[in-house]
Symmetry: C5
Subunit: 335 residues, 5 copies
């Protein structure tokens, strides 16, 4: 159900309430209005935006459509922005996406979002004690909201970086297909993040260059700061993508190495056992005339022959370097 | 056979009919004409376009050539556009491509397409009840058609994304070469899509910047919206291409892992069985003097020796971690 | 031996002949001259170009050097172009490259090429019947030649696409190193094509923007059309390069899969046979006291033991899913 | 604890001291001040920067935040820069990052850094003997500090290049998973370096184009030189990333090759031994009527049969080229 | 030891000599001076450049530093360039890099290089016979030197291309790790080449656009020609890098194929021999009651059983397609 919170700063007096405060505000006056609309439904929102405020139908459509990417459109008398935040549960690969649509005019800011956003609540609660937030103009208020949205990426990125590092460690300890599966899911998560970070970065770049009509010149530096943060975010995303690609290759190499190890054990044991089988087979033949069988130490001779063969093969393997050091799973060491 | 549908809006009266309506329309007057030509053949179309309307021969050639990519050309008195849509059967890798050529002037829109296009029919049928579509100018009519063409990409992309996800799951369950084959076909499909999406995105960018002569200034925002959609489409295509590349690597890794598993079984069983064969072989030798053969519990001793060898090897494998947990196909779990 | 064909359009009369026609043409008059020089040798060409026509030494050097890439240089009084076409025998990886150097002035066009070019001959033969070709100015004539050169890429690209598809099919049927070798050769071919397509595309872009001095404004649209074709060509080349990279990875995967198959057969047969050998070995031992040997059904017991072991192992393999379905080379099917 | 070093050049007299020197300096006068603040804490720094000098709160926040990337912001009356250096222990994959924030005005330079920086100390110590450093203006002093910071990258890059080369050699001698692990760590190190080098390069490019307000025109060439160095640094980083990717592939190939070698030994020995076992098995059968068993030279015949089989197989392997040359680990040679 | 060669063109008289000629030249006059300095040492060069000619200290530092990349700096009264050439011994992976620093003014050219450069000597020797080289101005002289430096890349690139082709052939014939090692060295070589080609290309682009102060307008076309060559060089480098990446993948595939081959031989021989061993083992058991042992043709029966088993297995392998065609190393053929 559409929930509306209104904040009105008139003659230095700040009042917070519901939709009824809109009536006390005048578009051409100097009172400042912030309207925050949560969980909008079409039949309530469209009349409000298009009729009461006279916003363009495309803007109000973008406000309601769930997939719009970050963007800026200039309209006569107001600026229209879409910002996006993301809340990802990295370990469960569940992501929730937050979209904030904002209409910014000379003396008003209207923010629309489907879900409850902690960032908006925080700003809302700080308002009574810090009138400067709204007093500096609605664009400064917008900056404060977007600032919290942008900075929410950092703990997320840390978590992703940690997951990739953890996956690498797990793969070196004991690679299994589930790691790969995990990696592909992580990759999809990061792609979701990237797909909305790049346009958001571009949007903040555009704003900080002064393209928006109702961002005051002295506040551009704040949006430039947001751009710097967003730039750092998208750089980190690219680094993680790169590390994921390497991890996938590492997985393949670890598996190849393990096959190698197993092959070596098989080869060593087979090549030692097979000649012994042959010797056993020879002296198990039933020929009538086999001189060795009559020897008193024939049995000892056969056992000795087996021992000699084994020793020779072991020496061969040592020379080949297959026995010298084992690449067991327990002895990873640095160069 | 060339089919022509004409719609004429004269003095606020809307009439729909065939080619005969063209005669009632005057190029220099204020009546608005929409001509939709389906399944054009050269001998009918060229005279109509080049002689009746005076369009350039290159434009009429591009209209008929099946491979032209999205483009915009400005001619004196009219704009010429090529738009493309695609209808792909992802599971059968059959794709049908739709090309819409459009001539846009001050008071006319001429659209040409080979196949029946649902989008065009929809707009055509809505016209009588919603005169605003044509009343706002032929450029607004064009926007409505292209809007439907662009939005038709989204279900297609969802289907592709689902196919890639499904392939990944199948590969982790049971990789076979047919998956790879499927992947290569999917890749070719996506490449077809990409090859025409990028120029279309560029074309919409160009239009939304105001480059076209007969798109009215107040409608630019609508084409800007189409550009935003097209941007989202091409971003999604890139993400899918990336996921496909990862899937291919995953395939290789899954196969490598499986080889590994099989090798391990072979190695474990071989290295257990071979020593037993050797022991059997030794006591099967026919030497005259073999003390063990005479022992009363010689047979038990030999069986015991075999059991001891097997146990020792099993302990060795457990120490190596080859028995602890099996990476069977049935136990994929998250980290 | 240098062969010169001259075409002169004077007072609406078209004459074709050899070098002697040059004398009847006047650089400052309005007669139009086309000179086509085939198989040029340095000692004939340099005097003609540098002295008779006063062209720059760098232009005449570029005309003769076999490796020059497509380019445009503006000189006072004339434009200098290098265009390239390619004739590739895809199946034999033999490629022949055609270079066309063109000097374009207000009333003349001079084309120079080493080999016989079908495109140039075609235009030359159409001239007497279609005077418009030259009558529209030498730049329109140049367009007609280059148009044929550019369009010659399309059948080539189709052939390459077919080769890559065919290779993919072959690899899925029966991968062998010769396929890889073929792929690397194909890649080199495509690289040759790409290396000259990109500068040619750039060159046509430059011309269609109106950078060349002697291309008439009303003909720019024709060169823009060539640019569109060249753009499509280079896009297709990139798609094919991408498909080749995927094919190489597919090859590796198919081989890995095959190794897998073979390993599975080896493992299944070995692990069934080895226990039988052990059982045979045990009852082949010569101990004096082996109760089973005395049993009346001892032999049957041993055979039964063998059968039970085999059955157990087969059940194990079935549980592992190694017997359920075979990934033989004959049963590729879609998902 | 915040440590402040002040250097004041007044009337050609240079004095160095603590925070007390600030009082003797006048912002509108011509005396030059360099303030170097090490290990800043928020409660001391913010009043100093924001109140005493009137710097913007965003600048002072960026000064304290540890993660800011290199950037430039112009404020009325001063320029604000962030530069970064890195001190990496390549062999232990421990990296320490240095951030230098700089406020540059007409007659002052304020540098802030958390850790002790050798570069800054060096410049500080050279000041008394080389007054030109400060005499040329605070921007020249800044150049001298940044110059040392940039050049500190070169030994680091040499070390990384050496590590990669060393890893390649180790992999060709004896590939083990620890090499891969090492490679992934090295990659992360290089990514850290790259992430801060690119914006620093861009920053220096911006400065050298003359974008900063308080860099004197005649000193631009010095910053252009720094840009050239930074460009070389980022190029080298890219080359190393490329070499690392190749090394990873080489690792996989070396492992594959080794598996190959082991397989060959196993195959050769198995295929020689197995037929001998069969022959031994045949003549170990207990049939009553086996003519060969009665032959006087039956035993010799059997041994001869074994020798013949072995010889035949060895010839087969030689024909296959499996014995001709061994790819042992000790004989790497150039082509 | 610093070696100085001076060439002075005064009143159409050309004189060549040592450093003493500098004195006879006047910076503001019209005499043209070319100074070529080889093997410069700091204590001689700095006074000459900085004091005698008044060049900037940064330029003279860049002249001496061995690692500077190609660049252009404009100074009042002169242009400063760094060009680079490379002399690579592809087969031994030894590369020698040549750096040429050039100071170009209205009436002088000063070239500085550490090593003897054949190109410079060539131009120096041609000067007396071809005064035009200097008479056309010092910029034309510079063009002649750089032209030789640029064209020296072509034989080098041919050699690299040949090496890559040769490596591909070797890998298909008989892949060994030394090929990979060779490939990585070749890659490093090409990276060295690339790292200095790209800035050199950019530098020549800059010059040919007319950015340098003392390159005469009518000579720009010559530098444009150098740019075209450099463009071709860097394109070829990229193609070779691409081919190297493919070669590395091909190596892996060839090894995988070989493992496959070996596996197949092992599998075929093992699966034929193991059942025979089992049959031999069964009839070698010592049970008292084994009817077959008493049969008169028991032995023949056992041999027959073995033959039947072998035949069955061979038929199985043929059905599997493992015997039909062998992928031996000697039969590479085209598709």
């Amino acid at each position: 159900m559409t929930a509306i919170r209104a904040t009105l700063l008139a003659n230095d007096v700040l009042r917070q309430g519901g939709a009824e405060l809109i009536e006390q505000w005048d578009r051409v006056g100097n009172d400042l209005l912030w309207l925050d609309i949560q969980q909008p439904d079409e039949e309530h929102l469209e009349p409000l935006l298009e009729e009461r405020f006279g916003f363009h139908e495309l803007a109000s459509e973008d406000t309601l459509s769930p997939n719009t990417l970050p963007k800026y459109d200039a309209f006569p008398g107001y600026d229209f922005f879409i910002f996006r935040a993301v809340d990802m549960n990295v370990s469960e690969h569940g992501s929730q996406t937050y979209k904030l649509a904002a209409f910014l005019g000379r003396n008003f800011l209207i923010t629309v979002h489907r879900d409850r956003m902690q960032n908006v609540d925080d700003v809302c609660n700080r308002l009574p004690s810090d009138k400067r937030l709204l007093g500096n103009g609605p664009d400064f208020l917008l900056y404060n909201i977007v600032d919290l949205m942008v900075d929410a990426h950092f703990p997320l990125l840390d978590e992703i970086e940690e997951s990739v590092d953890h996956l690498q460690d797990s793969i070196f300890k004991d690679a299994e297909p589930s790691h790969l599966d995990e990696l592909l899911h992580l990759k999809r998560d990061v792609n979701v993040l990237r797909r909305q970070s790049l346009p958001q970065r571009e949007l903040l770049n555009q704003i900080s260059r002064g393209d928006a009509q109702f961002i005051q010149r002295q506040h551009l530096i704040y949006f430039r700061d947001l751009y710097d943060h967003m730039f750092r975010i998208s750089e980190t995303i690219d680094v993680e993508r790169d590390m994921m690609a390497s991890t996938m290759e590492a997985y393949l190499s670890v598996i190849a190495n393990r096959t190698n190890e197993i092959m070596k054990v098989l080869t060593i044991l087979s090549t030692i056992m097979l000649p012994l089988t042959v010797i056993g087979g020879i002296y198990g033949m039933n020929f009538r005339y086999m001189p060795e069988l009559e020897w008193h130490y024939g049995y000892l001779f056969a056992i000795g022959l087996m021992a000699a063969t084994t020793t020779t093969l072991l020496l061969f393997f040592r020379w080949r370097g297959w026995l010298g050091h084992r690449h067991g799973p327990h002895r990873r060491h640095r160069l």
